[in-house]
Each structure stands twice: as structure tokens, then as C-alpha cells.
């Protein structure tokens, strides 16, 4: 038996004991999953995207199962940042879990205000900026789909966040050239990139003969989008060899996580798989360690971008 794998991960300065994180919106704020596994044993909890004010989210039905995936149209339901800080963030801090706080807004200002509000809170390993939400000022166009809007948001968050706290821009795959948006976010001050968010999809109910979701369209997630996500990580890694990447999209096993590391991710988030197996993050962490060992890697760091190596 060889030495244990060095599972440590570094996300733009945030030192994590493991490269396995939860995904925003798929773990609430950690408390529910802590009943199934010890959330302090994974890399970090990424919280549901929080907004300034309480949000009811959309009408139901909010989900539809699809082959190896699902559509969701939650609409960022949440209690607002004050309640989040008082209850969720405090609980995570007391629990000793590392926390990546995901923020969302309808305007550049809202993102800036959120960052300012979180600035002096302790126990935040990183901020993930969910730019896959509609820009109210721009006819609801998603920030992440336009390099200018994306960079304005990242700029506002960077200006209002301590340089000690890394900020990650979370990218949408629904763009022509993801490396383009990635570059714009990095130029605006993002310390790292998370990818991918869900991709827009739709299901029509053949009994009611109407869209299955009350929100009509929804975000597709789960193993169905994994190849698309691996491709995005690969392309961004090629374009930006040094930027820290948090990869996600359909990770359900240790080997899935390994694909992302090999494609260039420094760490990964596990989202929809949690709905099938609430202990998926810790299981995937164990499976990844075994998969790395089987292939002769001594650390997570050694596997990152390994698929990009020159032909030997």
C-alpha cells in the first residue's frame, strides 16, 4: 500500500483539505446534508445563491426529470442576505465547515452591495458570483452571456471584497465562446472561475400539452451535461493556463471528478448527484482518492490538467 494521496486543493489562495465541494443550490447551506455525512470533511460547502432581499422564487412545478438529468426553475428562492448571515453563515462557522458564499443579483449594484455586506463576515473561504441571472436593466439578459455585463458585475464585487477573499465568477455554458467570457471576468478581477452553471432546456408535458415547468424553461443539470462541462473546463484551461477553476456539471462518481481535474479543474462541485445520494460528496471524495492512487498520482495537484500534457 502506497502513501495516502495528498488531497489538498488550492482555490486562488483558499486552502481546502479536499477538492470536493458542494454545488450552489444543491446543498442549501449544508445543514441538511450534515445529517448524512460530516460536512467538515469535504473541501467546502458552496451555499445557495443569496440575494439582498428575501425571494419567493417561482411557481411550481419547479422541476422535471430528464434522461440522466433534470430541469429546475427554482428562481433563486432565499431568505435574503441578513437572514443568511444570521442563521446559515453563523451555523456553518460554528460547525467548522469551510464556506464558499454564492451571491446573485438583478443589477450590478446589487452584486456590489452584497459583496460589501459580506466583506467583514468571518468564515468565508471564497465568494462565488452567480452571473447566470437576468440583468433587470438589460431586458433580463443573463449577465454571464455578455462579456461587458459579466465584467461589470465582477468588477463591482472585486471592488467591495477584501483582496484576501478570492472571488470566483460562475460561468454559463449558454454562450458561443466560453473562453471569451472567462477572459473578460479575469480581466475584471475574478481570481478564479466556476463552471458550468445549468444549460437552458425545456420539457413539454404530453398529457397536459403544455410546458412541464411553471417557469416554462429551466436549467438542465446532472450527468446529461457532463461532457459539455468537461469541454468548457478544457477550453478555458487552454485559454487561461493559470486561472484556478472550480469544475462542475454531472459529477456523480470519483472517476467523473477525475475527468474534471484532468481537463484542468483545481477542484470540483457536486450538485444534482446529491439528490440521488445525499452522501455523494464524501463518497466521491473517497472514490477520487482511490482513482488517483490507482493511476499512480500522489496528489490532486499532480492530476490537474494532466490530460493537456504533450504526447509522450
Amino acid at each position: 500500500m502506497s502513501a495516502p494521496i495528498d488531497m489538498r486543493a488550492n482555490l486562488a489562495g483558499a486552502q481546502l483539505p479536499s477538492p470536493i465541494l458542494t454545488a450552489s443550490g444543491c446543498a442549501a447551506a449544508g445543514r441538511e446534508l450534515d445529517r448524512f455525512f460530516d460536512i467538515t470533511e469535504i473541501g467546502a460547502v458552496v451555499t445557495k445563491s443569496i440575494m439582498l432581499e428575501p425571494r419567493s422564487g417561482r411557481a411550481t412545478p419547479r422541476m422535471a426529470e430528464t434522461p440522466a438529468g433534470m430541469l429546475n426553475s427554482i428562481g433563486l428562492q432565499g431568505p435574503g442576505v441578513e437572514d443568511f448571515i444570521a442563521k446559515d453563515l453563523t451555523w456553518l462557522r460554528d460547525r467548522g465547515a469551510r464556506t464558499v458564499v454564492s451571491i446573485a443579483g438583478g443589477s450590478v449594484n446589487e452584486f456590489g452591495e452584497l459583496a460589501a455586506r459580506l466583506r467583514h463576515e468571518e468564515g468565508i473561504s471564497a465568494i462565488e458570483v452567480n452571473i447566470s441571472c437576468p440583468n433587470v436593466a438589460n431586458r433580463g439578459q443573463v449577465f454571464a452571456c455578455d462579456p461587458m455585463s459579466a465584467s461589470s458585475v465582477i468588477h463591482a464585487v472585486r471592488r467591495n471584497t477584501s483582496t484576501l477573499t478570492p472571488i470566483f465568477a460562475k460561468l454559463s455554458p449558454d454562450v458561443t465562446d466560453i473562453a471569451d467570457i472567462a477572459g473578460a471576468c479575469v480581466a475584471a478581477g475574478a481570481d478564479g472561475l466556476s463552471m458550468i452553471n445549468t444549460t437552458l432546456g425545456m420539457v413539454i408535458d404530453t398529457t397536459t400539452l403544455r410546458p412541464a415547468l411553471a417557469g416554462i424553461t429551466g436549467g438542465l443539470s446532472g450527468p446529461a451535461i457532463r461532457p459539455m462541462a468537461v469541454r468548457c473546463v478544457w477550453q478555458v484551461r487552454q485559454a487561461l493556463p493559470d486561472i484556478p477553476i472550480l469544475g462542475m456539471g454531472g459529477i456523480a462518481t470519483g472517476l467523473d471528478a477525475l475527468q474534471f481535474l484532468l481537463a484542468g479543474a483545481n477542484a470540483v462541485s457536486v450538485g444534482t448527484a446529491v439528490f440521488n445520494d445525499p452522501s455523494a460528496p464524501i463518497r466521491i471524495q473517497r472514490e477520487l482518492a482511490a482513482a488517483l492512487a490507482d493511476r499512480g498520482f500522489e496528489s490532486v495537484a499532480d492530476a490537474i490538467s494532466y490530460a493537456h500534457r504533450e504526447q509522450e
Binding site: 443550490g25 444543491c26 446543498a27 442549501a28 441538511e32 446534508l33 450534515d34 445529517r35 448524512f36 460530516d38 467538515t40 470533511e41 445557495k48 432581499e53 428575501p54 425571494r55 419567493s56 422564487g57 417561482r58 411557481a59 411550481t60 412545478p61 419547479r62 422541476m63 426529470e65 434522461p67 440522466a68 438529468g69 433534470m70 429546475n72 427554482i74 428562492q77 432565499g78 435574503g80 447566470s132 441571472c133 437576468p134 433587470v136 431586458r139 433580463g140 443573463v142 437552458l200 411553471a214 424553461t217 436549467g219 446532472g222 450527468p223 456523480a252 444534482t272 448527484a273 446529491v274 439528490f275 440521488n276 445520494d277 445525499p278 452522501s279
Partner: protein, 299 residues
């Protein structure tokens, strides 16, 4: 791992277990599946549900299917047994009822907030629509142990869609049956017999599980009479454990404020008067955080 977290996890309700299917039998249009699930029986209260993985591994069906827990036996085989009643209509439930004794079953249970029991030995009415009667038999047992009178009302579209008629006769103080087509019992909806039973026995609490329109009707009858109702709702659930926010419905809190509340963790049992029945499927404009009226934007 600290001893503190061990303690927290052990007292928490739900367990994620690999169980074993013991029997699957037909009951009218439904299937009753009995499986061994170590530790689950002891923790289960009437109204709890189980989330079952379907399709085997690896599967294209990612999401667990939820079922009310019908029956538990702490002394059953292999660390206790659990029974669920399954209406096989879609791909996941069809897969489930095709399992064989000895097959393994991946279950998370018990989940959700169960029915609460009255302090005094009052007269109660339990109303089950179709397979919605599944959790009511355990409830009837607990209520009768407390000296409550239990009138069980089973209703369905037709006789084969009733569940538990034989069992109900034995376990309730009295059984009442309704079918829409009159193929068994009183012809009509469960509401056709409710008022009479409530009058006859001075019913103080109505418990209901079944389709939303039935629950809504029960809640209204209870409210008009100034008595309590507890309703177990059925909303599509992606996770069943409280992390995804798909299973919400508008519920009035004790502070009078309506919120979109998770039926998997704050329910499935709600007090009938708290649920905004006519607004289910929408976000009422007075709901906390409701969008200010403006053109719907995409995504």
C-alpha cells in the same frame, strides 16, 4: 470526527440505508412492497415518508421517488421492516414494482414532518384518497392507543383504487367507503359523508392524505366547523431532504406571513388552515419575497 457530530447525526431522523426487498404483493390496483431497512422502523412516526432510488446503478433516473410509510415492524427481519404502497404509473414506479424478493433497495427514511397527535382522547376522522390512505393505518393505531375514536374514510374513483378496506375495518372504530362511480360504498366524494360523521361523533380533528382537491376540501370543512385538520400533501420532490427547493407551496406562518415552504422538511403534513390551497402552484403576491409585478424575464 468529533463526538459532537456523531451525536447530532445519530439523533437526526433520516437514515440512508441499503435494504432488502422481502415481499411484493398486489392490493387492488396497487402494490405493497415490504423491505428490510435497518433502523428505520424505530424512527418512523405516522406521516413520515421514504425516498427510494429507482432504476438501479447506473441509471438515467436520477431522482428518488417518495412514498408514505404504510407500516413498520421493529421486530421484523434484518433490523426492522418497512412497507410502502405503490401506484405504478410512470417509469420509476413501474421499475420498482418489478423488483423481486431478495433484491436490494436504496432508501432514505424516515423523512418529513409526521402527523401530530391530540393530547386528549378526542374523536378523530381519517380521510384517505386512493393510495393516500397508506399512512393512516399506523396513525389509527396510535390514536386508538390514546383512546381516540377513529372514523376512517376511504375514497377513490373506483373500488380497485381503494386501499386498505379489509384492514380498515379491523383497525378503525368504524370504516366508511366512498367511490366516485359507486362501485363500492357511498357513491360520491369523501366529502359526501364527512359532515354526517363529524356530526354523529363530534369529530375534533380531521386527518387527510390524498389528492390536493380532497385535502383542500377537508381543510375547508374543518375550518368552517372550527376544528383542526392535518393534511399530508404530495408535491413533486427532487431531493426529498430539504436542499433543492422544488417541493414548495404557499403556507401561512404563525406570524401571519405567507412563505413558499418546503413540503419535504416542513411537511408533508401541514395544518389545513395554514396552507393557501387556492394558491398552490402559484406564488401569491403577498408571499414573502414575491416578485413585484413586472414582465416575466427568462431563466
Amino acid at each position: 470526527m468529533t463526538s459532537n457530530t456523531d451525536r447530532e447525526r445519530s439523533k437526526a431522523g433520516a437514515l440512508q440505508v441499503k435494504g432488502e426487498i422481502l415481499t411484493i404483493r398486489r392490493a387492488g390496483d396497487y402494490y405493497v412492497i415490504v423491505f428490510a431497512a435497518p433502523g428505520v422502523a424505530q424512527r418512523t412516526r405516522p406521516g413520515h415518508f421514504a425516498a427510494v432510488a429507482v432504476g438501479g446503478q447506473p441509471t438515467a433516473m436520477l431522482l428518488r421517488r417518495s412514498f408514505s410509510i404504510h407500516q413498520v415492524d421493529t421486530a421484523g427481519a434484518l433490523g426492522g421492516t418497512v412497507e410502502i404502497v405503490v401506484d405504478a404509473h410512470g417509469a420509476g414506479t413501474k421499475w420498482l414494482v418489478e423488483r423481486k424478493p431478495g433484491d436490494s433497495i436504496d432508501v432514505i427514511a424516515p423523512l418529513g414532518r409526521p402527523f401530530s397527535l391530540p393530547k386528549d382522547p378526542v374523536s378523530t376522522i381519517l380521510v384517505g384518497g386512493g393510495y393516500g390512505s397508506a399512512p393512516l393505518f399506523m396513525l389509527a393505531d396510535r390514536l386508538r392507543e390514546r383512546g381516540c375514536r377513529v372514523d376512517l374514510v376511504l375514497g377513490a374513483a373506483t373500488a380497485s383504487k381503494l386501499f386498505g378496506v379489509v384492514d380498515g375495518r379491523r383497525r378503525a372504530s368504524a370504516l366508511h367507503v366512498t367511490t366516485d362511480d359507486g362501485s363500492m360504498g357511498t357513491k360520491g366524494r369523501v366529502t359526501a359523508v364527512l359532515d354526517r360523521i363529524l356530526d354523529d361523533y363530534d369529530g375534533q380533528v380531521i386527518y387527510g392524505c390524498g389528492p390536493m382537491p380532497m385535502l383542500s376540501a377537508i381543510a375547508e370543512i374543518a375550518q368552517n366547523r372550527g376544528i383542526a385538520s392535518q393534511t399530508a400533501v404530495e408535491e413533486a420532490m427532487a431531493c426529498g431532504v430539504g436542499v433543492c427547493m422544488t417541493c414548495v407551496l404557499p403556507v401561512r406562518g404563525t406570524d401571519g406571513i405567507t412563505r413558499m415552504v418546503r413540503s419535504c422538511t416542513d411537511g408533508p403534513v401541514f395544518f389545513g388552515e395554514d396552507v393557501r390551497w387556492s394558491d398552490v402552484g402559484t406564488v401569491p403576491t403577498d408571499c414573502l419575497g414575491a416578485p413585484i409585478a413586472q414582465p416575466e424575464s427568462s431563466k
